[in-house]
Each structure stands twice: as C-alpha cells, then as structure tokens.
Point group: C2
Chain length 342, copies 2
C-alpha cells in the first residue's frame, strides 16, 4: 500500500521524491515493481517498528529507532517536506508533537480530516486528539481549519461553523459559547457562520466544522457507521426479489457512481494541524489509491505553505486574541479552574 501509493502519487506529482523508512529486505523487492519510483526513492533501513497495540507513551520512549520516528525526524531535520504514515494514530500524534513541536500560538494540535457532503466536501476538526477543549482551543482550530480549507479545497474565504446542540436555552457549553463570541469579533480570512448541528455536517452547511475531539470523533465514526448501515440495508433490499435483482443489474453503473462518491479512499488522510511540520495519518485498511490521497494531502500542504498561512493568520489574530485574553481574566480563571479540577 505504501509503495503502491507512492508510485501513484509520483504519477500525479512528477517532482515528488521519497524517503522510505523500514525493513529494506521487504521494501526493495516491492520497489522493483514500480517504474514510476525508479531513482526517486531512498530506503532508510530500520528493524524497529511501532505496533498497532503500542501505547503512545511507550512508542515515544522505546521507539526512537522505529520507522515512524525516523520518518518524523526527517521532517524535523528539514530532510523531508512531510511525513505520511498508516501506523498507530496515537503514536504518530505523540511522536509528531514531540519531534515537530506545536506552532507558536497553538496550545493543542488537532486532527483534521475531510468528508463528503451534499455540497461537495467539508473539513472537520478536531477528530480525536483532544477530548476536552476550551474556547481558545476551538478558536485556534477554526483558524487552522480555515487555512486547511483554503489550501485543500481551494476556497479563498471558507465558511466556518461551531458544532453545537439544538436546544434553545441549552445552547452549548462555555467553551462553545466563548469561542463563538471571539470568532464573531475577530478579523480573519474566514466567514464565521455561528453554530451548526450534527446534520449540518453531511449537508455541508459550512466548509469547516469546528468541535472538540470527543464530539468530532463521535460524529466522524457515526457518519461512517450510518453509511455502512445504509449500504447494508440497500443490499438487503436489492436482494429481496428476482425483479429487484434485475433492477440492481440495470442500475449497476449508477450504484458504482454512488460508491465512488462516498469512497473513503478519496477522503483519506487525517492531518495533524498546529505542528511545525506536515504529518498525515492514512487510515488503516486503505489500498494504493487511498494512500496516494494521503500523500497528495501532504504535497498540497507543503506546496501551498499551509504552516506559513497558519502562522500569518495567528499573528494577525494575536492582537485581537491578546485583547480578548486581557478582557477575559475571569474567563482565564475559569479555564484554570477546569484544568485543576481534572
């Protein structure tokens, strides 16, 4: 998948070069199958690897010579423009944070991904890096998510919504309300549309959906689960009678188009935003096509200088941000109180 994905990505981006980290004895024979990779791949051998079951802290301590860690180091050292891995998400996040460090002004990096919607595609973050977030985290996610949407979706001024619940008086927790107040005032290269609800994600009501890592992860996986449920119900329905089976045969190209549209391979790649380097997680269980999509994301982020964009936006915002912080001394206490309580 990794080598095949690299070959596909190379066909799309003819200047691309690769450092592959891992067991040379396994990688080299695979390389010979792909003409596209001839002369553009350097293999860096290591025996050590991070297992799917490793805890992030364990990987961080014991995996200093793992293929994952060496690949991240190559980004930190400026040897590589970005790292793409299909390995252990928690380990990749922990190691990326440790080796690449958080950007100035970003308290917590977030996992960002994109999803199919009625209108095309939307960006959502955080998808699971931070189970609890305060208003400042959410504001930073909004800024990073908008920069990502400008880069990946090519939108000059993306719309941003804060995920919230629907009931009037219960409208959200303090973090969501506080973030909305800040985003309403701030002068940023995005259009803040206020609160959105769960059904707005698939509708594509906004280009960017901002939420904490708990709700974001729940929403993402709920979407996946619901899509599978629907597919299963559809299969059962079509298998029901000879006539419906015939109907299915006739509609097969239409069904293929539908599958293509919701094909997770075209939406593959969770991006760690807020680090001083590009780090992309490819979902497990992908094939060449899916992995090439994840590589493509990294390429676009490097080519478009996403990190530079976020830096600029954060600097522009910092004036407002500092003002807000001074104004919110009570708010700071709140945040501190909450942090202590945990």
């Amino acid at each position: 998948m990794v080598v095949g994905g690299a070959a596909l990505a190379r066909e799309r981006h003819p200047n691309l070069r690769f450092l592959l980290f891992g067991d040379e004895a396994k990688i080299t024979p695979l390389l010979s199958r792909h003409r596209a990779l001839r002369g553009v791949v350097e293999v860096r051998h290591t025996d050590q690897k991070v297992e799917a079951s490793d805890r992030p802290s364990q990987a961080l301590r014991q995996g200093r010579q793992s293929s994952m860690r060496l690949a991240i180091n190559a980004v930190a050292d400026g040897e590589a423009g970005g790292v793409v891995s299909a390995g252990n998400t928690g380990a990749l996040m922990a190691m990326s944070k440790f080796a690449l460090k958080s950007m100035k002004g970003i308290d917590r990096p977030a996992i960002c991904g994109f999803l199919p919607t009625l209108r095309g595609e939307s960006v959502m973050l955080d998808l699971g890096a931070n189970v609890e977030c305060d208003q400042d985290n959410l504001v930073q996610f909004a800024i990073m998510g908008a920069a990502f949407a400008r880069t990946i979706l090519g939108l000059p001024r993306p719309t941003v919504g804060l995920l919230n619940v629907g009931e009037e008086e219960l409208k959200g927790n303090e973090a969501v309300k506080g973030a909305a107040a800040i985003l309403n005032e701030a002068d940023l290269p995005l259009r803040f549309m206020g609160f959105v609800e769960g059904d707005d994600i698939a509708k594509g009501s906004t280009d960017v959906v901002v939420t904490d890592g708990f709700s974001g992860n729940v929403a993402l996986k709920t979407m996946e689960g619901t899509a599978k449920l629907f597919s299963q119900f559809l299969r059962t329905a079509f298998g029901q009678s000879a006539l419906s089976k015939l109907g299915y045969m006739l509609a097969k190209p239409a069904m293929a188009a539908l599958r293509e549209r919701i094909d997770p391979r075209h939406h593959n790649g969770g991006v760690f935003l807020g680090l001083n380097g590009i780090s992309v997680k490819s979902h497990g269980g992908m094939d060449d096509v899916g992995f090439a999509t994840a590589i493509g994301l990294a390429v676009d982020m490097v080519a478009d200088d996403l990190i530079g964009r976020i830096t600029t936006d954060m600097e522009k915002f910092s004036h407002h941000y500092d003002e807000q912080a001074e104004h919110d001394d009570a708010g700071d206490d709140e945040t501190r109180g909450r942090a202590v309580a945990r």
Copy 2:
C-alpha cells in the same frame, strides 16, 4: 396529526382514553372524523399555547395556562398516565421537570430515543438535555436506559455501552472513565459492555448507548444528516441514465422496503427519563403514524411501570452507589470544582 395519531393509537390499544388540551373550536371538528375516538376523548379548552420560538424559561413563567402545561399537570395530578406533545422540546422538558420533579436518586433527567441499527433497534441517551455530565449522571442514564430497553425492546437484560473515542491513551474524559469503573462493579439488570464508538451506534453493538447530551445530540443529528445525504446520492445515481431509471422502477418495492426500514415515523418519540411521570416528545413534522408511535411509547411505559422499574433499580444500586460516593471524596471535589468553574 395529534388527533389522527390518537385515533391510530386507540385502534392498537383499545382501552386508551385521551385528554386533549387546546383550542376546542379547532379540535372538535377534527374529532368527528375519527370513529375510533368516539366517547374516549375529553377536550380541555385553553387559548394559551407555547410557541416554537419561546424560550423554556419564558414558557415556564408565562405559560401556566398553556395547553402543554395543562397536559403535564394532568400527569402530575394523576389524571393522565402520560403526556405526549409535538411542541417546543425545551419548554416541554422544563415544564415536565418543574411539574413532575426528578425521581429520587436521579440528579438530571435525560432525553432518550431509539434508532434503527443493523441488528434492529437500539436506545440512546442523553440526546440533548444535559450538555455536560459527570460520572454519576452517566451511570444514572445507563440504569434508566436499560430499564427503558427492557420495557420498549422487551429485552430481559439489555447490553449497555458508554460512548467514547477510539484513541488508546486518549480514551475519554474523567466522566466516561469514572462511569465505566462504577458500571463494571455494579450489580444491575444490564450487561455493561464497556466503551463503544460512534460507528457502534448504527451497528447496534449494544442495546443501549449512554453518553452526555452534547455528544448524544451530535450523534443523533449526524445520523439523520448522513441518512439524508445517502438518500440524496442514491436519487442522483438512479436518475443518471435511462437504464438506471428503469432499474429503479424494477427495484421500487425493494426501495420502499428500505425506506420503511429507516422510516423515522417508526422511531419517533424522545422520552424524558428520570421524572415522576411519563412525558414524551414527538418530533415535529410527523404525521398520524409518527405521532401514534410516540403515544404507543407512552402507553408501553405506563403499562410496564417503567418508573417503578427505574425506582427499584436505583434502590438496588444505591448501596453500591453510596459506597462509591464515599470512596470518591476526591471525585466529589472534582465535580464541585467543575461546577464552580462555570
């Protein structure tokens, strides 16, 4: 919808009788259309009603003679076994809480609903009443949700899962971890299966999914949105060519079966659990069939003495619960700290 739903429900439950609250001049002509309702309906006239745009606090203060409030009062007074309304959710919740009061041992009532899954149907709560929940809230939700599943799904010992995120070291916040620890120890008429993720909801991995009102609301609405997205993609796909249109014609009964299976009218009704009385919210935009489903829920909960079941379970649990509370003095401080921080 209300009168038609009552007529349908009466056909299913021949001993059912109704008190209808509202404008007599509007209700009476509708009643004459339904033979099933002859002699079993009493209309209680009132001019006042809660508007969809009313804030819950406003409805509580100013809506003392509203049809919604009078209907809830009828439950509080023992005149009616339960109340069903398609009105303003926040107002119905606030008024129900005020007039019916929380059950002993239940700190916060929750909104509970049921959803189609691969395995049939599951129960989920809280769907939006409480945006932030501590471990005790979640444990109480588990007990109430299991009792509801025993009543509505007829399961003697339902499985219960706590909604959480997937990343290893990031596995959930303190509330979720604490609730899991308590549920693992407690002797209750349910099988606690530990953590589940968003995709487990549609899979039906557990009969009951427990979560806070923020994530629950996000998950519910994300499911709705994704189902709509999929339906829309399917329509587009089928409309693509003459052949696929013909395929659709042949598969029409199959598609009707699919629609029937995910028909929200069969899963209508958000139940307020944890009150000393049955209160059911029918979704807006339903028809007779959907409203009759919501009435049926109320009937089943009364017939099966759901409130008695929850009371018994809470009493059985209280020994464990008190022990846990003593043991968790630090935990209490945490909760207090968090409450103060807001």
